[in-house]
């Protein structure tokens, strides 16, 4: 049944996070960008909101609230509205936790989920992306050599690992027998080395690192989902929905910031908002923010239902949302003219953040 009807709970969550975004994220976003760090205070405060632990089942120590990817998409839109780098930082543990919840064996759940039910910010990271032109997260160069009962030996290099400097575990995507599997690797595994923080054009506040795996041996139980493996495609699909949701929020933020500026800014004797080239661009931004949101909701819904078209939907949504989000961010600068180019205004930062997130995958999940 086609329905866009939010539940009361979803509306409540949206409102709560919207307030949080305005009060706890917007004010610190520029500082995080310039100083290339996120205050521990912020991570603590987001942890108090319980985005991670409340949705882990009670038997593993969590809140046991039902986790709906659609609800998470609604929530991520608000966080993305606050700040993209902070949104990813805030929900970084979820990408890992969700993968375990959805695809882990009972043993993996028991071993890992309780780590995320404590009182303080705890993170483990997806290690999916790699360097090199046209790098495809679904076709990693990192490889896993099966060693029978001894498990696997992992070799390769992963980049853009969020909070890789403080993660307890990594979920490493690697080629295995022609397919792709994900492996749970503790950060202190022998042969695993963690690089210096990477420098990216956007999301400068967010720490990402490269990790190098030199013949890292893991047991057979390290493979996500056990013998039959986890559905790595589904993890990537979920990540696409999550990134899209964050981008919807970021773009809504850009539009909302443009509106009052264009009404105030005068050129040729009238507010620039009265010029169709500006007014129509705002209309176009609004049209696309709406379209992006419904694409994202549909993808999240399909992912959550394991719909046969989930991968297709995630593919189309990622393609569409990336293109439109970048169009909006780029035009945000143009609407502001010279002010769009200087760091006194946030639009240039949003441009960098959007461009960065649109080319990365698997930093966040729903």
């Amino acid at each position: 049944m086609i329905s866009f009807g939010m539940s009361e709970e979803q509306e409540l969550i949206r409102d709560t996070l919207r307030e949080f975004a305005n009060e706890a994220m917007r004010p610190i976003a520029r500082d995080c960008d310039e100083t290339a760090q996120i205050p521990q205070d912020f991570l603590d405060s987001i942890w108090q909101l319980g985005l991670t632990n409340t949705q882990i089942a009670e038997q593993y120590g969590g809140g046991g609230e039902e986790r709906s990817p659609v609800t998470n998409a609604i929530l991520l839109e608000e966080l993305g509205f606050g700040d993209v780098a902070l949104a990813i930082a805030a929900t970084a543990p979820n990408a890992f936790v969700n993968a375990i919840v959805d695809h882990g064996t009972e043993e993996q759940k028991q071993a890992l989920l309780p780590l995320f039910c404590g009182d303080s910010f705890q993170v483990a990271s997806l290690a999916v992306l790699e360097h090199g032109p046209l790098a495809d997260p679904a076709a990693p160069l990192t490889k896993a050599e099966p060693k029978g009962d001894d498990g696997f030996v992992l070799t390769g290099r992963k980049s853009w690992v969020v909070f890789g400097d403080r993660a307890s575990h990594f979920l490493v995507f690697a080629r295995n027998n022609g397919g792709v599997d994900a492996f749970i690797v503790p950060s202190d595994a022998e042969g695993l080395s963690i690089g210096e923080p990477e420098k990216n054009v956007g999301l400068r506040g967010l720490t990402t690192v490269s990790i190098e795996l030199k013949r890292v041996a893991v047991g057979p139980e390290a493979k996500l989902g056990g013998a039959q493996g986890g559905d790595v495609r589904a993890i990537l699909d979920a990540s696409r929905a999550a990134h899209s949701a964050i981008l919807v929020g970021a773009c809504r933020g850009i539009l909302e910031f443009c509106v009052p500026y264009t009404k105030d800014r005068v050129a040729f004797d009238e507010p620039i908002a009265k010029k169709q080239s500006i007014a129509f661009r705002l209309a176009e931004m609004h049209i696309e923010v709406e379209a992006m949101r419904w694409m994202t909701w549909k993808t999240a819904s399909h992912v959550s239902q394991g719909h046969e078209d989930a991968t297709k939907q995630a593919h189309l949504t990622r393609q569409y949302v990336s293109e439109k989000a970048m169009w909006i961010a780029d035009n945000g600068i143009q609407v502001f003219g010279g002010h769009g180019f200087i760091r006194e205004y946030p639009v240039e930062m949003w441009f960098r953040n959007v461009r960065t997130l649109t080319v990365l995958e698997a930093l966040a999940g729903v």
Binding site: S3, A138, M295
Partner: protein, 393 residues
């Protein structure tokens, strides 16, 4: 609950319309080349066919509801062909949507079995309805409206049995004076002097209407409200709100054609060995596949904005912005999709051996009628900026 899955019943009802659409397609080229509507009676087995089209089974409580389902039905019907539209006996015209949105219960009961066109545009006014010159003057003696004026671009104008007409009852009141009236074809002084030759939707007649001292009963004013509010937009808003349903349905019509083009292109690409690898990165994709998925994504997005607008209407929520959003979005999308697919397929795309060139022509009207894409963007921008019509035009 937010959901985007069709129930089995939804699917069955839609499959029914798609099957009928496929049947109708065999007449599509002929109707296009002859620039004439196919009378329903020439369709073999049309009697049963048309009835079942109009009543594809009732939805259950778990099924997709009213207005949103109407969007999907419309897409399915137009996927068949644009020429299917006027084949529906009674209803199905744009004027019917206006009647449904703005008519009184009595009026609905009286006229909804008729196919009603909608007449807005005049030779001197395109997308600016405030320039309407057609006048309606009340003759208190006979209790009749006397209508004078000319309307152009009246879709389904020949076959329609009546029209929902925009006319001003007080030119000095500007937009507030504009009202809509229901005029049956039999009204004295109503003539149809001409028919337009067009780029597309050639099987659908587009008429010129002339009203010369045309008299209709007083009760034919839609909604029955004869007052002219002082605020400049009050009365007009009543007229405009009929657009909140016709816009999404116009969008859906175009989307049906675009979907037909996508399905055709997908099959042809497969014949050429092009398979879309959903989920794969750029390195794994062929140029043709990537171009196809871009257009497919555009379709998906436009369909969702249209569903959103009608879902709100079905939920009795305001959808003024949303109906303009979906009309603007679908209007651009169907242009890009059909023109892009013709380009992608190469030479075969422009041959009249296939229907895709026709779908490209047919759906070009989507961004023009029922308010151009430019008008929709004006409406959206005013909403965003909290500007009046005078502030932004």
């Amino acid at each position: 609950m937010i959901d985007f899955t069709l129930t089995e019943n939804d699917k069955a009802r839609l499959a029914h319309i798609y099957a009928q659409g496929e049947f109708v397609r065999q007449f599509a080229r002929e109707a296009d080349e002859n620039e004439a509507e196919l009378p329903p009676e020439i369709l073999p087995g049309a009697e049963e066919f048309l009835t079942s089209l109009s009543h594809p089974g009732a939805p259950g409580p778990e099924d997709t509801q009213g207005a949103a389902m109407m969007t999907l039905n419309t897409i399915a019907a137009f996927w068949g062909d644009y020429s299917l539209r006027p084949k529906q006996p009674g209803g199905g015209g744009l004027g019917n949507a206006a009647l449904a949105a703005a008519g009184s219960d009595d009026q609905k009961a009286k006229w909804s079995h008729l196919t009603l066109s909608m007449a807005i545009t005049e030779p001197g006014c395109g997308s600016d309805p405030s320039r309407v010159e057609t006048s309606a003057v009340l003759d208190e003696e006979t209790d009749e409206w006397v209508i004078n004026g000319e309307k152009i671009f009246v879709t389904t104008g020949i076959r329609a049995q009546g029209v929902v007409l925009w006319a001003t009852i007080d030119k000095s009141a500007g937009r507030a004076g504009i009202k809509s009236f229901l005029v049956e074809k039999s009204a004295p002084g109503f003539s149809v002097p001409g028919k337009e030759k067009k780029l597309g939707i050639r099987s659908d007649d587009t008429a010129v209407y002339l009203f010369k001292d045309c008299r209709i009963p007083r009760g034919n004013l839609l909604g029955g409200d004869e007052s002219i509010p002082k605020a400049s937009s009050g009365g007009f808003r009543g007229v405009m709100k009929t657009f909140n349903m016709t816009r999404p349905l116009t969008a859906a019509m175009g989307l049906g054609l675009a979907k037909a083009a996508l399905d055709f292109a997908r099959e042809e690409l497969e014949k050429a060995g092009v398979i879309v690898q959903y989920g794969a990165g750029t390195a794994q994709q062929s140029a043709a596949a990537e171009r196809f998925t871009r257009l497919e994504a555009l379709y998906e997005a436009a369909e969702l904005t249209t569903l959103r607008a009608t879902w709100l209407a079905g939920d009795a929520k305001p959808n003024n912005m949303e109906s303009s959003v979906c009309k603007a979005h679908a209007g651009s999308a169907v242009r890009a999709i059909t023109q892009g697919l013709v380009d992608l397929l190469g030479p075969m795309g422009i041959s009249r051996e296939h229907l895709i060139e026709k779908w490209m022509r047919d759906c070009r009207i989507t961004d023009i009628y029922e308010g151009t894409g430019e008008i929709q963007r004006l409406i959206i921008a005013r909403g965003l900026l909290d500007y009046t019509r005078a502030d932004l035009k």
